[in-house]
């Protein structure tokens, strides 16, 4: 239990008025200080590589998108915003989406699609503004989702760097299932390290 002792107020503090005058002088001085509000439409947002905006399909240098309509992003999407109809193509990748829609009103910008994509086809862009006059206009199809790789370079490099960090990290031993030491019921790597050859 904490016992908070009330501060003994001095006479001037108990009279209110001097303290009020002090407070008033502070607020008056602060009136002329620099404003911290960002004037948004005139002053654009500061966009960094970690800015996670709306998902976009990266257009490669040959003018095509890398998507093979595997459906992993569709499955990963927690908001069910992505709809994909796959189809075949004569290009070397053999499959491409006939339809790739993202309902931007459902999209929560979580970035799971970017993480799920095995072909580096979808990335979160730095576009954040989203407004239109109808709901239908905000269901983006392939053409609306296409964005040249040059414009997404920063984000792509950032994601690759993050992925490389995980790729290079030593793989932690799987402690359940096939890889677990036989008969051991260790629940943490530390416990496993202490008793590596139990039984």
């Amino acid at each position: 239990m904490v016992i908070v002792k009330r501060k003994e107020l001095s006479l001037s503090e108990r009279l209110y008025v001097p303290e009020i005058v002090r407070g008033l002088s502070i607020t008056f001085r602060k009136m002329f200080e620099k404003k911290i509000t960002r004037q948004y439409p005139e002053e654009p947002l500061v966009k960094t590589e970690v800015t996670r905006g709306q998902p976009r399909l990266v257009v490669k240098d040959d003018g095509a998108i890398a998507c093979v309509s595997c459906g992993l992003c569709e499955a990963a999407c927690p908001a069910y915003a992505i709809t994909i109809d796959g189809g075949e193509t004569d290009r070397p990748i053999e499959r491409e989406p006939k339809r790739f829609d993202i309902d931007m009103l459902r999209c929560i910008l979580c970035g799971f699609c970017e993480e799920a994509c095995p072909k580096d086809a979808i990335f979160m862009s730095d576009e954040l503004e989203l407004a239109d006059y109808s709901r239908q206009a905000l269901v983006y199809d392939i053409e609306k989702l296409k964005r040249p790789a040059a414009a997404m370079r920063r984000r792509i490099e950032y994601v690759n760097r993050i992925n490389d960090r995980w790729r290079d990290a030593p793989r932690p031993p799987m402690l359940v299932g096939r890889d677990a030491p036989h008969g051991a019921h260790a629940h943490s790597p530390a416990a496993a390290a202490q008793r590596p050859h139990a039984s």
Binding site: I20, G23, L24, I26, T27, F28, K30, M31, F32, E33, K34, K35, I36, T37, Q39
Partner: protein, 357 residues
């Protein structure tokens, strides 16, 4: 003009007089409503600056047209009357809250004799009556009905509590306010506001202002006017964290806006009253013979400072607790005002009125 006058059965002079009254009253009424509108913007701007923000700046240059946009918005919003509300009183209450403040502006003298088109049109005041202050206090005390009836008619406990608090607060602080004003009245020897200003204006120096003679009364009136207008730090009638929004919780659209027009009008009236009583009204120091429009400008300037003070205090001080409010009102303000009045009376008895030779 004379032909028209003859047709309606008046002499030219009478018609001129009638027109002068009409123009003057219209200008002053529109003026007070505009002041209320501008004050909403000032309030938002000043509060923003004190919090390192810009405030409204989208509508018009520097957001100057914001009150207009707000007005349009209020007019087009839906009026919701809550279930179980007393409909007649619910509709009546905003008017009761706003009308007294606008009625009291009638006795505020804005400037000395207006000389326009080579003619003296009399002082710039709607009604130059002998009982100016009494009228102002009497009508001003009516505004509590708007608040209390709004609280009751809304059929909501938050509104009711807000209304009850407001009425208790207004009754408590009215006493101190009237006693503080009485001290000035005793010194000036008149309850006509114009005469009170003239009693401070004749010397043409700052030293004649009642503020130097009655600093305590000035302070008491300031605090009492915060309480009377339900402003911070005494805005228990609309104490947001406890009462949602107080007496106007259930109000919407223009009805809600009218409460605020009333509040800001009351603020303007209280500021004008303080300026008249303590800061020489329209008189300009060292310029005793200034023309009326300069006097009018001086009056507006002084009143603006006072109005700014209202806003400034609101965005600086935290709210008192209700028991603290009552303690200050009855145990501090009232005795101080009584002692002040007593001292003033004693001074006047022993040394005579200040203006006497």
């Amino acid at each position: 003009m004379n032909d028209f006058a003859a047709k309606v059965g008046l002499t030219g002079e009478q018609l001129e007089h009638l027109l002068a009254i009409l123009v003057r009253n219209t200008v002053i009424l529109i003026g007070i409503i505009s002041v209320a509108a501008v004050m909403t913007l000032v309030e938002r701007k000043v509060s923003a600056w004190m919090q390192f923000r810009h405030g409204p700046n989208r509508v018009g240059p520097w957001g100057l047209l914001q009150p207009l946009a707000d007005g349009v918005k209020f007019i087009f919003k839906e009026v919701v009357v809550p279930n179980g509300a007393n409909k007649a009183l619910y509709v009546l209450a905003p008017a009761l809250a706003a009308v007294p403040a606008m009625m009291t502006i009638a006795v505020i003298p804005f400037a000395n004799d207006v000389v326009l088109f080579g003619k003296n049109w009399g002082p710039l005041v709607v009604a130059d009556i002998d009982i100016g202050i009494l009228y102002l206090l009497a009508i001003g005390s009516m505004s509590v009905y708007g608040v209390i009836l709004a609280g009751w008619a809304s059929n909501s406990k938050y509104s009711l509590l807000g209304g009850l608090r407001a009425s208790a607060q207004m009754i408590s602080y009215e006493l101190s306010m009237i006693l503080a004003i009485l001290a000035v009245v005793a010194m000036a020897g008149s309850i006509n506001l114009r005469e009170i200003v003239e009693s401070q204006a004749h010397g043409g120096s700052i030293a004649d202002w009642n503020f130097w003679k009655q600093p305590l009364a000035c302070f008491l009136l300031l605090v009492a006017s915060f309480a009377e207008t339900n402003r911070h730090p005494f805005d228990f009638a609309e104490c947001e964290p406890e009462l949602v929004a107080g007496f106007n919780t259930e109000y919407s659209a223009m009805k809600w806006a009218i409460f605020f027009i009333g509040e800001y009008s009351a603020m303007a009236v209280m500021s004008s009253l303080s300026v008249i009583l303590f800061f020489g009204g329209w008189s300009i120091p060292f310029l005793p013979d200034a023309p009326w429009y300069l006097g009018f400008a001086a009056f507006l300037a002084k009143t603006s400072v006072y109005l700014f003070l209202f806003v400034w205090v609101r965005w600086t001080l935290p709210r008192f607790r209700f028991d603290q409010l009552m303690r200050i009102g009855w145990k501090v303000m009232l005795p101080l005002a009584l002692v002040n009045l007593l001292a003033t009376g004693a001074w006047l008895t022993f040394f005579g009125p200040p203006g006497a030779p």
